[in-house]
């Protein structure tokens, strides 16, 4: 029975991600267009909102090329390994008071742990492509994703310290509005580290268009490539929703559906901010990225942790 539930939630997560990606890509194209003084998609639907409905079927009807020299097994199924964990991670996000799809006792850790499987997927895809650019991109991606996991985890940890529980629902029950100023620094670290985790600008080195053309998915075409893109958007959605819940209380502000709307609203703002950042800043270099992680972000996360521990003493 629980398998069926799991399957249901898993499929729901996929649909959420797919729908989110459709809206998100459109939104990103619009946001970037406005920032760049453009119009963005115009033709299909109002303000081009149905543009993705053309893009997705097109990718679906696109030939699926597998390079001859590629490791066919890795190449074919690496997108699954990238996408599935991210979809799974959505299951522990609390959307409702006292409820999360997988309200595990170690839910918060689950959220951090499971997507790290997709690092492996990226490495496999890169290596499996047997392509120099892809390999470079994949290695960059892996190094970056594992590195930024540390400050991200520490930032989340500070909320856990305040909440005293790893269980999402319990954590949310304990959430109070004044945590926002206390964990603001943590949110900053979480925000930046999440951008790096989802390989978006200014940390989009693995797929850096100006250097590696497309990075680890250079040789992927059609729907498999779309899966990578969906994973990217999925990671963005998951991070935004999780961050909105943990650092901004998510649904806690209003009861019921209104709360859910607030939660999604905050997440949408975070996503917009991610896009804003991407379309504003240049890209870091690999060494700067690493140095930034270890010498700025990690210490800041530690500072936040200490702060949270100090505050937690009074609880």
């Amino acid at each position: 029975m629980s398998f069926v539930w799991g399957l249901l939630y898993g499929t729901g997560a996929v649909i959420l991600i797919a729908g989110g990606a459709v809206v998100g890509v459109w939104w990103e194209r619009k946001v970037s267009a406005r920032i760049q003084l453009r119009l963005g998609p115009q033709q299909l639907g109002p303000a081009g909102s149905l543009q993705m409905l053309a893009d997705v079927p097109k990718l679906l009807f696109k030939e699926d090329v597998v390079p001859a020299s590629a490791d066919r097994l890795l190449f074919r199924y690496a997108p699954l390994a990238v996408f599935a964990p991210i979809a799974m991670s959505l299951a522990v996000i609390p959307f409702w008071a006292g409820w999360a799809p997988l309200d595990s006792a170690a839910g918060v850790l689950f959220f951090l742990a499971v997507p790290s499987i997709s690092v492996l997927g990226i490495l496999f895809s890169a290596w499996g492509s047997h392509n120099t650019l892809a390999t470079l991109g994949g290695v960059r991606a892996a190094a970056q994703m594992v590195s930024y996991e540390v400050p991200r985890a520490l930032a989340v940890l500070s909320v856990v310290v305040l909440g005293g529980s790893l269980q999402p629902s319990e954590l949310m029950d304990a959430w109070r509005w004044w945590w926002i100023p206390v964990t603001l620094l943590g949110f900053g670290v979480y925000f930046i580290a999440s951008i790096a985790e989802m390989n978006r600008g200014p940390f989009d080195l693995p797929e850096a268009e100006s250097e590696l053309v497309a990075g680890y998915f250079a040789d992927y075409s059609g729907i498999r490539w779309a899966v990578f893109m969906m994973a990217e958007y999925g990671a963005m959605i998951a991070s935004a929703l999780f961050g909105a819940a943990l650092f901004f209380g998510g649904f806690m502000w209003l009861p019921g559906v209104a709360g859910l709307a607030v939660h999604i609203g905050i997440a949408a703002l975070i996503i917009t901010a991610v896009m804003w950042v991407k379309w504003t800043f240049p890209r870091l270099r690999q060494d700067q990225l690493m140095t930034f992680c270890w010498t700025v972000l990690t210490p800041l996360a530690l500072v936040q942790l200490v702060l949270a521990v100090v505050v937690a003493l009074w609880l």
Binding site: D71, L109, F110, L112, S116, V119, L120, A142, A153
Partner: protein, 164 residues
């Protein structure tokens, strides 16, 4: 066979399959893949045995960290001719013998648990924390020191790497 048993058995099967794959893999990528399956199986085992914290930690540290490290290590030592890195398993019968012996010993030593009893309760992270901060405090702090030592070791490696 209860649902619980089935879960454990499935996880164990994954572990065994992964282990076998790791032992028999010819190419490095398959080896890592098998290792991943093995580690995932262990995580599922932990979950099935009622410790989600341990399961998550297993995934976090081993799959997200150690496995990547292994993959990197494979890439670092990759052969210069650009061939797919191959694993030179000699499949020593002696080693197999030792492994088999170990298995037998473990099978004997491990206390038997009768099938059909209720699955264990979920272990709360709070309980783990209690243990770690209670009786396990020394071990906990020792782990911290150990990690510090490891960090310094890494620095040494980095330094020597930098020199080269």
């Amino acid at each position: 066979m209860s649902a619980h048993d089935l879960a454990v058995a499935s996880a164990a099967a994954l572990v065994l399959a992964g282990a076998a794959g790791t032992a028999l893999a010819r190419s490095a990528t398959r080896l890592v893949l098998s290792l991943g399956a093995f580690l995932l199986g262990v995580a599922l085992c932990f979950l099935a045995l009622g410790s989600p914290l341990l399961a998550a930690a297993q995934v976090f540290v081993y799959i997200g960290g150690v496995l990547v490290l292994v993959l990197f290590a494979l890439m670092v030592v990759g052969r210069g001719d650009g061939e797919s890195p191959r694993v030179e398993s000699r499949h020593d019968p002696g080693a197999a013998l030792v492994a088999l012996g170990l298995f037998v010993v473990l099978a004997i030593v491990t206390p038997k648990r009768p099938s059909g009893i209720a699955p264990p309760e979920m272990v709360s992270p709070l309980a783990v924390a209690d243990v770690l901060l209670g009786s396990g405090i020394v071990a906990f702090e020792l782990a911290g020191v150990l990690l510090l030592a490891a960090l310094l070791a890494v620095l040494v490696i980095v330094k020597s790497g930098g020199e080269r």
